[in-house]
Symmetry: C2
Subunit: 637 residues, 2 copies
């Protein structure tokens, strides 16, 4: 525990988190009103060198989760927190009121404890809550046919493709022929429109297929959406533990995580000063923050699960809702009668929340207060717009336990709870496994869609094997890509430290990049209309030896450049037509260009003229002829 | 280029490569004769601590590719090479003869060049070749109904399960209940018998569904098999380039690669002293070595593709066959008429061999000598038992180019060439992509099985997205796991340096571990009868907080231990019932045990007695009842 004196004086942002990414700059696309400014990252590219005149390569706009941290215009001061982007929208709805202060007993106690002064974030505003009788969830608005600014913001943000095709971001016809290519994909029932309109966003939310986590007490968020018919999202976990704890470290992990692509962050702190740690994270987070309130509740009762009560839990929900937590993981599906189903498992119950509630249920021999008070929890959530992430407390912790009776029994209960949440217009997504061998993954997705009426699925991995501790970002990245393809809306990352220890900043980055790969591979396989353009742009840069562009178009330009420079550090190598892998004579891409040139050089009697276009046409004719022949070689063997 | 004076004096093995893996020792299982000694790695485990007496955990036998390097009994001297394990078997067949010396012109020239003395491996024997008129391939023997010692060796080696269940490797009934669990799996037509017999191996080889790469001039190999009805294998590439070169480095990469699980190694050297580098690798390799002969042939003509001739290539094949190369990648499927099909690709031709041959074809405007002389190549291969790895010279180099006309046209030709190779009883496998989005992967596998009559498929990745240079071991590990599940027999690794530079030792290890994960995930999903036991053993150790066992059962014990110790270095932590991720109060597994204990403590009126067995039965009854009720909650909502 290394908390310095008065964080409110000393806290400063991680320098590494506020540099613009190489070759990139912040771009805002404006919506119907000036206060709807949707952030993108614009990657500028160098022209393609040709024998004739150089050919321009249009810049690429990519989805940007890093918030103001990568905007040189923005003034970052962790002690002040981020600007309240959504405040005018929330004000305008005029259905909320500012409270005198925290209404939770615990929140007040922490606020008034002088001992905590050194750790406290100096919040200058009081919490908001829905005016009596009001429901302030995005689901409630959507069902009333209201398109909120949040929905419009998201439509622009998700609509990569339209942006990509606007003149400023388009190349010549030939360049667009390459960049515009897109495999149709297999969506397994996903509906991915060519253009995402605000109305489409509203409808998806209204029908429960997508959620917009945005607590009215977290106005700093840049709205984002989680749903099968949008880009696949990823979550990064952080949080201290009793063994390792420091508020600044966790804030650094947050700013580091969103820099590399975390769409949401879960604060899973279980150590010291959970309340204060959370406040620092939420105030400085441009992405939704999720928590598992039972962790803090357990802290409040000294870690003795059976001493947990509804009153303590309720107070914790209000405490966190008033801080601005955007979604709660609630393990309300762990029923007394399901616990025995875990008795013969190889790894029992591996969800922390699940094991805590199972223990409580057994001790009291009754259903948990999460379940018996579920409607009361809905009443709280709808007054702050906190979304549910219904926890899978009985998820498998080993491939042996995958898809067993305990897991699927709980999933059915989560389906029942989904309907109750919807009855209250509370947004809900469903958490999923866990450890699952590849051939059993799809059953998880299909069953979730059926049991939970297409509410968004949010899975941890799944890990496809148990035999690689130290590499579970990879064992799970495989499963994550597959379930994302099948329809999972958000993938919860796993870091290399899974099962072994608390992740540090490097682990967070490795986990995030691995899951960005999984999410993007899923978007490609689903045939998301905007997905393949980035692959095409990078492959074009690669084929044209535009090394800097290849680095900058990648998910991690720093690492790509470092690996390349390990053997060829000189600037001259950045334009060389080879790398150290093959060397100059063996670069297939270099030879491939010579092949194309060879065609150009052909004389007419060889059947091809020298103009590149004609050549291409000529080649296509040859190709046609070949295909007509059925592509066979030995007609007389 | 840093070759020391007289490697034959200075060469020494990488110390890191000859340590036994933690908690492991070498075990040999004897076959029908004393000279059939099949190596395994035995991982010894600590007992499970219980309230009563401790419960033994049987040691686990795992497939071991590391050869004598991890056997403390073995005397390793790179300058002498490995012992000729297979020599007596080859002698006994009496169908080969020792030559006076290399019969290739190039081999003789290198042997007689005094300038090369410092680099030369001092080989004390001359090459072997089939006696005139003989065919010495394993396929030839198999088709004659002969079960070779190689086949028996492989049957024992692949038969993990029988070994695992022999008394020495079995635990109590309850332990076996846990370790013996196995999901049925989905094999997509793979036939995985419960027990693998030598006759089963013979039949799979005879029918062309599997190959045993084992050149008679590489008697140092421990026989292994590549086929869809056996464990999925992985290949590690190494080799120098004009930019980076040192014989010792490449030998170190080989010993490092097999330590972590490489089933075969391809030497893709394109730089200086290819001949000598290969000799050092082959003489010290207990796994099959593959090459791409066209690389060296191109070196011989100064890197000018159009100057390549059949004579130079033929001499290169003989040179390498007499050194002991076990399989040749031959890009004989690149036909003149296919080249135009690549004209509109985003990344043209990305196979080095493919681009070289395409250039040759265009320049001479005729089919390549690889194709026109294919039967001559078969004649060479059958005299040394060199297997074909028919190269996919037109594989896609970007997701945009996946599954296109060029790729599939070549695959059809590879199918034709397969039949020709089989006509000569030459073993053959087929190389595959490349860059392919997830939803297009299965088509590759299905088409390959159909076009090539179930000859083994050997794929590079495929990479499921192009946007992560620096992480292509992961983008491709996803695709590799999937295609392995669908039926691919061997996965060619990709390292983090792919597209960026020549891999170093660390990159080799990362690539190998990633691909071991992919191969094992595939075995699990296929339902390989022996696969899940290791997962179960590791998960059991994890659930019982046997940290050392958890590390040692993993693919990379060193990294797992290092990650754990980063936050909890003390020995006491190795028995602690938590790690730094959750800390003591939040360890779900710890709580899960308390949950089980809670049942034990119940008094009869609570409906359960205290005996653990009875408890389990009681729980099962509750579970049954619950399932009978249909698993529903609200019967009166």
């Amino acid at each position: 525990m290394t908390s310095p004196q008065f964080l409110s004086d000393t806290a400063r942002v991680d320098d590494a988190a506020i540099q613009a990414l190489p070759g990139s700059r912040k771009r805002y696309v404006e919506g119907s009103s000036a206060d709807i400014r949707v952030p993108f990252r614009e990657i500028s590219l160098s022209p393609t060198r040709t024998s004739g005149q150089d050919e321009e390569n249009p810049p690429l706009l990519v989805y940007d989760t890093s918030g103001p941290y990568t905007d040189p215009e923005a003034k970052i001061d962790l002690r002040k927190g981020l600007t309240e982007l959504r405040r005018p929208w929330i004000d305008a709805r005029d259905d909320t009121e500012f409270l005198d202060g925290p209404t939770s007993e615990y929140g007040r106690r922490r606020a008034n404890d002088p001992m905590l002064a050194p750790l406290r974030f100096e919040l200058t505003r009081t919490p908001r809550r829905a005016k009596s009788g009001n429901n302030v969830t995005q689901l409630h608005y959507a069902r009333q046919g209201i398109v909120t600014p949040e929905m419009e913001f998201i439509a622009i943000r998700e609509n990569q493709r339209r942006q990509a095709l606007s003149t400023a971001y388009s190349g010549s016809q030939e360049v667009e022929r390459i960049l515009g290519q897109q495999h149709p994909g297999e969506g397994f029932g996903a509906r991915l429109p060519d253009e995402i309109t605000p109305e489409f966003v509203r409808r998806e939310v209204a029908e429960g297929r997508a959620i917009i986590p945005c607590n009215i007490n977290h106005p700093e968020t840049e709205p984002m959406i989680i749903g099968r018919n949008f880009l696949v999202k990823i979550n990064g976990n952080l949080g201290n533990s009793a063994v390792s704890s420091a508020i600044e470290d966790e804030v650094d992990k947050m700013t580091w995580g969103i820099r590399w692509g975390a769409d949401t962050i879960m604060d899973l702190s279980t150590g010291a000063n959970i309340h204060e740690t959370r406040e620092w994270i939420v105030r400085n987070a441009p992405v939704p923050i999720g928590t598992v309130p039972i962790y803090q509740a357990l802290e409040k009762v000294g870690g003795v699960a059976e001493n947990l009560t509804w009153e303590i839990f309720r107070d914790t929900l209000i405490e966190q809702a008033e801080q601005g937590v955007d979604y709660f993981t609630i393990h309300a599906g762990v029923l007394l009668r399901y616990v025995p189903l875990t008795a013969e498992r190889v790894t029992g119950i591996v969800s922390r929340g699940g094991s805590i509630m199972a223990k409580w249920c057994l001790y009291h021999h009754e259903e948990s207060f999460l379940y018996t008070h579920f409607e009361d929890i809905c009443e709280i959530c709808k007054r702050y717009d906190v979304a549910f992430s219904l926890g899978d407390g009985l998820r498998p912790g080993s491939v042996a336990d995958a898809n067993d009776a305990a897991q699927f029994a709980e999933l059915e209960t989560l389906g029942e709870l989904t309907k109750i949440a919807w009855k209250h217009d509370v947004q809900v997504m469903i958490e999923g496994p866990g450890h699952v061998p590849m051939h059993l993954i799809k059953e998880n997705m299909d069953k979730q869609l059926a049991e939970c009426d297409e509410a968004p699925f949010y899975t941890l991995g799944p890990l496809t094997t148990d035999i690689a501790p130290g590499y579970d970002h990879i064992t799970s990245g495989i499963g994550a890509a597959m379930i994302g393809w099948y329809g999972c809306a958000m993938l919860c990352y796993v870091t290399p430290k899974e099962h072994l220890g608390l992740p540090n900043k490097d682990d967070v980055k490795t986990g995030i990049i691995t899951y960005k790969i999984a999410a993007h591979a899923a978007d490609l396989a689903k045939g998301h209309p905007a997905a393949q353009r980035r692959d095409n742009a990078l492959s074009k840069a690669r084929f044209e030896f535009r090394w800097e562009d290849q680095f900058n178009l990648g998910l991690d330009p720093d690492t790509a450049r470092a690996y390349h420079d390990e053997t060829l550090p000189k600037d001259s190598a950045k334009v060389a037509h080879f790398c150290s892998m093959c060397g100059p004579k063996f670069c297939s891409m270099k030879i491939s260009h010579e092949v194309r040139d060879a065609y150009k050089d052909r004389t007419p009697e060889r059947g091809l003229e020298s103009d590149a276009e004609v050549v291409r046409r000529g080649m296509k004719e040859q190709a046609e002829k070949f295909r007509e022949q059925g592509g066979h070689l030995y007609r007389e063997v």
